[in-house]
């Protein structure tokens, strides 16, 4: 088996420090010149409950979970049971467990994997202030070939705020774990490469979206905390003031969306971030942004729905509300990043598009992108910046909603003399005065549709890769596993195309017709129980005759092997 990439899980009860340990391990991987990522799986508990850090490291950039895990560190064996479905194991996988480590129980769930014992709790007790998770960190570092001293630098950095005693205790535990790891199975990690000339970053999808937003020009954010979007806001709260911007913690999502509409009306590119329940609350006012032609960006980090659903787990089930949730005929933009790295680009592009077209853009990220911390190549600097069409001088009777060829009319900014107008959610005349006349309604509906339909989106509307007469079409976070499946098949000489849609609305029928050319079989992959993406495709595009659907709800991620199986097992359905 090729173990140039390794999948490692750390499980424990809440408070056992698995996330901290996972972050340190990922940092060590980063220092070793590796790529990789760490996903988070946790229950709803604020503290306590079970938690798992799900890592994969590799010598090459990766963005998909593997088919199974090579190694599990069960710091608190009794808590591993909760993650059985999320931790597929093989007969040659190993679980390093602690027979005496359980908080309530030390019983591991039934598993095909080989179990080896490491008395993490007992070893930790030999050190004053020692903790089992640091024993685990030392052991796993040894097992996968990370140098011991690289861990020290990481401890020093991460624990500096906790004082010298905490650092000393942790370091002693890591050393004990490292020594004990010598007797544990060895895994061939990727080769250590500390001299890599390539600039790499460590970033979460939520941070990446925040960075994309400010790169695009966003300087005002109003939002209400919600899992799993909160980290976007935490990052922006620290970063916006450095750029002269502001984040306001609003009283609810209704306030969030209206505050950003107000700020944008004042000329400041603005964004809010939320998850499904918040998006549902905002929909009325997103329609206001559309009708009043006030640019705003709404980032929805999706989680399992409906209602409160599973707040900490990923799903692609807000597609329908994002596309169709606004009342009336309200053309707007819906975009989705296809990877952690792409969260930077897609969010930045969304700001650019919203500002260019003076409309609302909804960006659909999800928990698995947002809360995954990844080691990536530095995202490219992109020139897409907010650029609003603002009049330089005004005619006697300035028409804010003038109907022109492009549908985009120059937007006066408060403070500009002669540009005064009332932005309105009422249907209006070209001047912005309320109107109930059918002619005004039709003219403004046409205008708002035309500016979005007629815009030149270039090549960014989708990622199109590969060749052949079979294709997989997907969107958002499921693009990662699909990409890996296709790359594995390519290594075996089988070429299959990828269509990962970044711009979900407006539809791009002409571009899609070109993308579909020559395709005989099309596999649709999505993480939605009610086939939202499939239904969208059926409604929006002329699809090839041979079509197959591979869908399921969250929270379990798609794994490359499953996608390959779907292709192999095409059967007679088509």
């Amino acid at each position: 088996m090729n173990r140039q990439n390794l999948s490692i899980a750390l499980t424990g009860s809440g408070g056992s420090g698995v996330m901290t340990t996972g972050n340190m391990l990922l940092e060590a991987a980063a220092q070793a010149g590796w790529y990789g990522f760490m996903g988070r799986s946790a229950g709803p508990q604020i503290r306590g409950g079970e938690a798992a850090a799900l890592l994969r490291v590799s010598s090459e950039p990766i963005e998909s979970p593997d088919d199974s895990f090579d190694l599990v560190l069960a710091i608190d064996p009794g808590s591993m049971g909760r993650f059985v479905a999320e931790l597929p194991l093989r007969t040659d996988s190993f679980i390093v467990s602690d027979a005496a480590g359980g908080r309530r129980s030390s019983t591991l769930p039934e598993t095909p994997a080989q179990v080896v014992d490491l008395p993490m709790k007992k070893l930790a007790k030999t050190v004053k202030g020692g903790r089992p998770n640091m024993i685990a960190l030392g052991a796993v570092a040894k097992m996968i070939g990370l140098p011991e001293d690289s861990i020290y630098a990481i401890l020093e950095n991460i624990l500096k705020s906790k004082g010298p005693e905490a650092l000393e205790a942790s370091w002693a535990c890591v050393q004990l774990g490292y020594a004990a790891g010598a007797d544990l199975p060895k895994f061939d990690g990727p080769p250590i490469n500390t001299q890599s000339a390539i600039e790499r970053w460590q970033i979460t999808g939520n941070e990446a979206a925040g960075l994309g937003a400010v790169r695009g020009g966003v300087r005002f954010v109003a939002a209400y905390p919600i899992t799993p979007a909160t980290e976007v806001l935490e990052w922006l709260a620290g970063s916006l003031p450095k750029l002269g911007g502001v984040l306001v913690q609003a009283e609810d999502e209704l306030a969030s969306i209206n505050q950003i509409i107000g700020a944008s009306f004042g000329g400041t590119p603005s964004l809010t971030a939320t998850s499904g329940p918040g998006l549902a609350l905002m929909t009325e006012s997103i329609g206001l942004a559309v009708c009043s032609e006030t640019p705003v960006v709404i980032l929805d980090v999706m989680r399992c729905g409906p209602s409160t659903g599973i707040a900490t787990k990923s799903e692609q089930s807000d597609l329908s509300i994002a596309l169709h949730g606004l009342h009336g005929d309200a053309p707007h933009l819906v975009l989705s990043p296809t990877s952690v790295t792409d969260c930077v680009f897609t969010t930045q592009w969304a700001v650019h598009l919203a500002e260019s077209m003076q409309t609302a853009a909804i960006v659909l990220s999800d928990q698995s992108l947002g809360q995954t911390r990844a080691i990536i190549n530095r995202p490219a600097d992109l020139s897409f910046m907010a650029k609003r069409l603002v009049p330089e001088q005004f005619e006697e009777n300035y028409l804010r909603y003038a109907v022109g060829e492009s549908g985009v009319s120059p937007m006066a900014i408060p403070g500009q003399k002669g540009g005064q107008y009332t932005a309105d959610g009422l249907e209006h005349t070209e001047a912005g005065a309320p109107s109930s006349l059918p002619g005004d309604h039709l003219a403004q509906l046409d205008k708002r549709e035309r500016k979005i339909e007629g815009f030149d989106y270039g090549q960014h509307w989708a990622d199109l890769e590969g060749e052949g007469d079979t294709a997989i079409i997907t969107w958002g976070s499921t693009t990662g596993p699909v990409r890996e499946a296709l790359s594995r098949l390519k290594e075996q000489g089988e070429d299959i195309r990828l269509i990962a849609i970044r711009l979900l609305a407006p539809e791009r029928p002409e571009e899609m017709a070109v993308a579909f050319k020559g395709i005989k079989r099309l596999l649709v992959v999505e993480q939605s129980h009610s086939k939202q993406f499939y239904r969208y495709l059926r409604a929006a595009y002329d699809l090839p005759a041979g079509i197959k659907l591979f869908n399921r709800p969250g929270p379990l991620p798609f794994r490359p092997k499953e996608i390959i199986e779907q292709l192999a097992d095409w059967g007679t359905e088509s």
């Binding site: 003031p241 450095k242 009283e251 209704l254 505050q259 009306f265 000329g267 009332t422 959610g425």
Partner: protein
């Protein structure tokens, strides 16, 4: 002094747009429109430097009838939209306008939190104790025994909302009550409210002559408050709770600082943000 001519003063009528109001003849909101234009003229605020923000309802049509910048948004969210604008553009004079239903029912949460947050803006609520645009339903400030509400034929039986008491309890810094029939007096209060730093709450009793014709009597019942504005919240609370809603004037003036977002700690280039991600 040289021979330069003084800049031309903006007259109240120059703040009015050419759009004809939808209001019924005799509606109190005409008087409020007049008071707002007088206040803007009194302070010589240039029309392009002011923005009037509203939600939905008869009185929320106000921005369209003014020559300032305006935003006529969705029902209940005027204060949120105005807050975003003021935070992003502190240089503007921001006024939110609306009615009792918009502000205290559907928008009640924003009312509480805008009082708390204390952004430097003025909120003018034209209170007529009825939903006029939907043709005559009880509002949060309606007397519980009013039996002409089309959805509450036996009266609401619900305690009326006391906006100024709630404003005080929520942290509003400037609290006043006016009458739409006193155009000049109301204009003076609005001027004071605009000048006051922080969130200024101005309740204007503005009769709905169509659905509450009995409110024509208000002009005889409203009396100037017999005492000066207080800066003592306890005293203000007692007055507001005992004046039966009919004392006009500035009733409370506090000195809480206006909302100030996080102080800036500017970096030279946005690329400096990349540093925290670089390995």
């Amino acid at each position: 002094m040289t021979g330069d001519t003084a800049p031309k003063l903006m007259q109240p009528k120059e703040y009015k747009s050419s759009v004809k109001p939808v209001w019924c003849p005799g509606c109190g909101d005409f008087g409020v429109l007049g008071s707002i234009t007088k206040a803007l003229s009194g302070l010589q605020i240039q029309p392009e430097s002011a923005a009037v923000i509203s939600g939905i309802g008869c009185s929320s049509r106000m921005p369209t009838y003014l020559k300032t910048y305006g935003f006529h948004g969705v029902h209940g969210r005027a204060l949120a939209l105005a807050t975003g604008l003021k935070v992003a553009r502190p240089d503007l004079t921001v006024i939110a306008t609306g009615g009792d239903g918009d502000g205290f029912s559907i928008g009640g949460n924003h009312f509480l939190h805008t009082c708390r947050r204390n952004p430097d803006m003025t909120y003018i609520v034209m209170d007529n104790q009825v939903y006029g645009m939907t043709k005559g339903q009880a509002s949060p400030t309606t007397d519980p025994s009013w039996e002409k509400g089309k959805l509450t034929p036996c009266g609401t039986g619900v305690n009326p909302f006391q906006p100024l008491v709630i404003a005080l309890a929520s942290g509003a810094n400037f609290i006043a009550r006016c009458s739409s029939s006193d155009s000049n007096g109301t204009a003076r209060v609005i001027m004071e409210a605009i000048r006051h730093p922080g969130f200024s709450m101005v309740q204007i009793l503005s009769p709905c002559v169509t659905f509450r014709p009995e409110q024509r009597e208000w002009k005889n019942l409203l009396v100037p408050a017999p005492v000066e504005a207080t800066s003592d919240p306890a005293q203000a609370a007692r007055r507001l709770l005992t004046d039966e809603g009919m004392f006009t004037g500035v009733l409370y003036v506090g000195d809480r600082p206006a909302y100030q977002p996080c102080p800036e700690n500017r970096i030279d280039s946005i690329t400096e943000l990349d540093e925290e991600f670089r390995i």
